[in-house]
Symmetry: C2
Subunit: 215 residues, 2 copies
């Protein structure tokens, strides 16, 4: 692995911004999008449990249907690819077993040899509340969100993190009601419109002294 330069990282993070208007005529090339999907899959998570799914929505009609449930923000319809990040609502022993099985499959060995690791995870989930688990899973999707937006920026792809939507409506329209998953956060990806005046506004961040403290 050959590291990139610090300048490349900072240039891309300064280039990115929460895109308010996408150019609806532009589509992310297939090879670039495939890499971004792979980057979603590679996202780290607590225990490695990946308590998520990622819906990639390109169907225009479906996206138009979502706009009124997104505070009428058009990014979900005008972007190239809309990612709807779903979080698990609960964690059962079956979920842990599925992960243990996958470890054995990828690394070789048996599920029985991983009994200790399984016990640690099921023990953890047995001690916490359902609300805690839902919050924990949602947190993990935000790791995916952060990594995805950073990766996209480095590839010259615009994104916008979006929490402004009605989760129950999203769940209903996307067929998630009554399933183990719920809509956590949205991230449309594509290309900024030349008309987006937000693209050229100076980025607003607190000064280093206000957010970073050295001990």
């Amino acid at each position: 692995m050959t590291p990139i330069s610090t300048t490349q990282i900072l240039d891309s993070l300064n280039w990115r911004y929460a895109t308010k208007a996408f150019d609806a005529s532009k589509t992310i090339p297939a090879e670039t999008w495939a890499a971004l999907e792979e980057s979603l899959i590679l996202t780290p998570s607590s225990f490695g449990l990946q308590p998520w799914k990622f819906l990639v929505i390109t169907d225009k009609a479906l996206r138009e249907q979502l706009v009124p449930h997104t505070w009428n923000q058009r990014q979900v319809a005008d972007c190239s690819h809309l990612v709807v990040m779903l979080a698990k609502k609960n964690m059962t022993e079956a979920d842990v077993d599925q992960f243990i099985h996958r470890i054995a499959e990828v690394r070789g060995g048996t599920s029985d040899a991983l009994a200790g690791y399984k016990g640690m995870m099921t023990g953890f989930f047995a001690k916490v509340t359902p609300d805690f688990i839902a919050g924990w899973a949602k947190n993990q999707t935000y790791i995916a969100l952060g990594q995805f937006m950073g990766s996209a920026a480095l590839l010259g792809i615009d994104t916008c993190p979006m929490e402004g939507f009605v989760p129950t409506q999203y769940d209903e329209i996307l067929g998630l009601t009554g399933t183990d998953y719920t809509t956590s956060v949205l991230v449309p990806a594509g290309y900024r419109s030349p008309d987006d005046k937000y693209a050229t506004l100076p980025k607003v961040r607190f000064e280093a002294k206000d957010v970073i403290e050295h001990r």
Copy 2:
């Protein structure tokens, strides 16, 4: 901004892993670390409100003191730089005012001209519960976590996301008890030890068909 290649992104994400053993003799060069701190500052957040602080701990004695409250995991002591991500516990009108003031400072204009934006934010926070706000702020720190780990990997820096710690003990030791901030998540950064057997294990992720769905 010159995009990097998809190969560079995927190589770095495949190179990274949750580092279990750091080489305690190695320190991240100052210029690299400065870029990583800048990347933390540049993290996107809901409304742009940045409801966080980042403690960067290099003091060895303090880090040793944290080990027993981190399920005895040595990464917090053996890494080069330990980042303790803090989340705001609440959002007051004064917090929103501080952000509005910063926008006016960076972009020019007056706080009064931003009254509409301020009203939208204070209106939002007035409608949700204190628990919701605490969860919301914690979510934002996970965007920082995801972006930070991705950036670090691209720079050849190892990290490990860590939720296995006792928040009340961390808050106590770090002097946060009674403040507006609480410990959200940890991310030690540095260099993997040559003895870390986890470095060479195949990465375990669910198959694309199990986590990505196209609509």
